[in-house]
């Protein structure tokens, strides 16, 4: 190593005259790449199967992602803040079981929805207290509650099932607002707007990013880190409760195995949407597009009768791809 090592000589830093225009930034963004992929998949699907372009089929296909996406919105905020909740699918099971019990006691549709949301909120509070008050790592806490919540459902139901929900209750998971627009689609769209505004346009949203980037710095900047995280856990619980209402209504019955494995699909959706699993970055539009993209891929492959395991491989590759490609680009540019 000589003194003339090029790495050692200071190079005047280039400061650009101006930042890239918003339009250019948008074009280069993760969301537009994802949108491009989604459009590509849509067009491919049109060619691959003659049954794809049908309003009713596409409407049916949205059920592949609407419930998961409801949770994914809240999960995105939680992951941006540097935490995670793996118990969401088990919260659905517990909420659905609680709704079944209320139904057996003669509760109407209103009582059922209230029960679902309330139990979801309670589960979220339980996770939140363990993480924020006791300072436990969220991944460990929620792996624990994942077994706990579903375990309770199994104790209540065993190998039995709740059935016979009131027909008015079917509106949430089987109803249509008009023509092919389902109730779940409308809920999905409304939530996308609400979460988008909260994350991108409010102080609360900025605080979420700040915590995810550096929670110590956020704390010293006067952000009540514990409180924000608590709210996010409550929100995730509430959204799981809402998903439980929709799913139970759609299935018209409750079994303790309901929604099993859904937590991983939700996390996949969030990460695919460009949310950094390490926290600190991501956007709601990204999650929306990722949800639709996953729905398109699974439905498209389903139309071709591709076995589910091949579909899982496809989703897995897609996930690794979207994480690896930007990293590879960075490495290539670095050299």
């Amino acid at each position: 190593m000589s003194l003339a090592d090029p790495d050692m000589t200071p190079v005047p830093r280039q400061i650009p005259d101006r930042l890239a225009s918003p339009a250019a930034k948008l074009l280069k963004s993760w969301e537009s790449l994802l949108l491009l992929v989604a459009v590509g998949v849509f067009i491919l699907n049109c060619f691959a199967s003659p049954y794809f372009l049908d309003a009713w089929s596409l409407s049916d296909a949205t059920f592949n992602f609407t419930e998961k996406a409801m949770i994914a919105f809240a999960m995105a905020l939680l992951i941006i803040a540097g935490e995670i909740d793996l118990s969401v699918a088990s919260i659905i099971a517990l909420c659905s079981t609680a709704m079944g019990l209320v139904m057996q006691m003669g509760g109407g549709t209103g009582a059922l929805v209230f029960t679902g949301l309330a139990v979801g909120l309670l589960c979220g509070a339980f996770n939140g207290v363990l993480v924020t008050r006791l300072g436990l790592p969220s991944i460990v806490v929620t792996i624990g509650t994942m077994s706990l919540f579903r375990g309770i459902s199994y104790i209540v139901l065993g190998d039995g099932a709740f059935r016979g929900y009131p027909s008015a209750f079917a509106w949430f998971g089987q109803g249509y607002v008009f023509w092919v627009i389902t109730v779940e689609m409308v809920i999905f769209a409304l939530l996308a707007i609400v979460f988008g505004v909260v994350l991108h346009k409010t102080n609360f949203g900025r605080q979420v990013y700040a915590i995810g980037n550096n929670s110590t710095a956020a704390l010293f900047s006067g952000i009540r880190v514990g409180r924000v995280k608590m709210i996010l856990f409550l929100l995730t619980g509430l959204m799981s409760g809402l998903a439980a209402v929709c799913l139970t209504s759609r299935l018209g019955s409750t079994r303790p195995s309901i929604a099993s494995g859904m937590e991983l699909e939700v996390v996949t959706m969030v990460v695919l949407g460009g949310v950094s699993i390490l926290g600190g970055s991501g956007s709601i539009p990204g999650v929306v597009i990722a949800a639709i993209l996953m729905g398109l891929v699974t439905f498209g492959l389903g139309l071709l009768n591709v076995p589910g395991i091949v579909m899982s491989i496809f989703i897995g590759l897609m996930l690794i791809g979207v994480i690896a490609v930007p990293r590879l680009f960075k490495m290539a540019r670095g050299k």
Partner: protein, 329 residues
């Protein structure tokens, strides 16, 4: 915009062409609990056999990766979108599939369940592999066939509260008079645990030295009993029979501890389900209480008041066919 419009137009044209091309061919979807299970792969083989026999049928063999109701609903939704003619499903959940299957029926698709049923409002008919009276008769018949001069038999069941086993044993007792010379000396319970069933079988042979056969209408009990007989050196004296799985019983058949046993035949089940779906979708038969529906080489199935019917006697497995089936399930 122009390009995408063109693309859409081509896609639509594609759709029309494909629509007319497959109009004569009937598409029947065989939906199973999960892919990659030997039992269902065998059923798919039977469905293919039926399709070849019928000629104008395409079988779509499909199912989710895990045995979940949600997975099956996604599969059914994609089948509805493909406008298949019939869906024959072995359900992961009696109730959760009902709304989706009702939607399928509303759009003109014939829906039947087989093996594992759907609640009556979610299907047109259900095909049971067998019926309780047929099973009760078969297990005693298997024992009696090997005892032309009569003899003593004992039952090794699962638990005292196992609904299925109790019904089958009751049905067996009802037909006992048809098998003169056969005496039922005891009924014991191995709780569907391998070690307890093994000890109960040992106990039977000690308590009844003249015992000629052990009937175990449970797949756990029959294997344990065969092992107990082999370990006691009583092969040839005590014949173990009942209901078991070919893969688990192959050793017992080879050693002679069991001369024969029974269970449903998954190939026949897939064949019959496809035949029934075809006949219903074609409109040749109608699913109504008391109606009969053709099942090709397996004859006809008669529906009861819940629109379900039994396919056939349990299929008998012995040294002549165990090799073929032991790798299947």
């Amino acid at each position: 915009m122009k390009l995408s419009a063109k693309l859409l137009a081509t896609a639509a044209a594609f759709g029309l062409m494909a629509g007319t091309a497959s109009a004569e061919e009937m598409r029947i979807a065989l939906v199973v609990k999960a892919l990659g299970i030997g039992f269902f792969e065998a059923a798919a083989k039977g469905a293919e056999e039926a399709a070849q026999e019928l000629g104008d049928v395409e079988v779509i063999y499909t199912g989710p990766t895990d045995t979940t109701a949600e997975g099956q609903i996604e599969v059914i939704n994609s089948l509805i979108a493909q406008k298949v003619d019939a869906i024959a499903i072995s359900a992961n959940d009696t109730d959760a599939l009902v709304p989706t299957l009702q939607k399928a029926m509303k759009r003109g698709i014939t829906v039947i369940s087989w093996d594992s049923g759907v609640a009556p409002e979610g299907r047109q008919m259900h095909l049971n592999p067998s019926s309780n009276p047929l099973i009760g008769n078969m297990i005693i018949k298997l024992a009696a066939d090997n005892l032309p001069e009569g003899g003593d038999v004992a039952v090794l069941s699962a638990t005292t509260t196992s609904t299925n086993q109790n019904i089958w044993i009751d049905e067996m007792k009802k037909v006992m008079p048809n098998y003169p010379g056969i005496n039922l000396v005891a009924t014991v319970y191995g709780d569907d645990l391998a070690d307890k069933s093994y000890r109960e079988a040992q106990g039977l042979m000690q308590s009844y030295p003249d015992l000629d056969a052990i009937i175990a209408p449970t797949s756990v009990g029959i294997v344990a009993a065969a092992q107990a007989v082999a370990d006691a050196g009583k092969i040839g004296q005590v014949n173990v029979t009942g209901l078991g799985l070919p893969s688990e019983m192959a050793g017992a058949i080879e050693s002679g501890a069991s001369k024969s046993f029974a269970i449903w035949n998954p190939i026949d089940l897939g064949y019959a389900a496809t035949m029934i779906a075809y006949n219903l979708a074609k409109g040749d038969d109608e699913a109504a209480p008391g109606a009969t529906i053709g099942m090709g080489r397996l004859g006809e199935v008669t529906l009861d008041e819940t629109n379900s019917g039994a396919m056939a006697d349990p299929f008998v497995y012995d040294s002549s066919n165990i090799e073929e089936f032991k790798s299947i399930f």
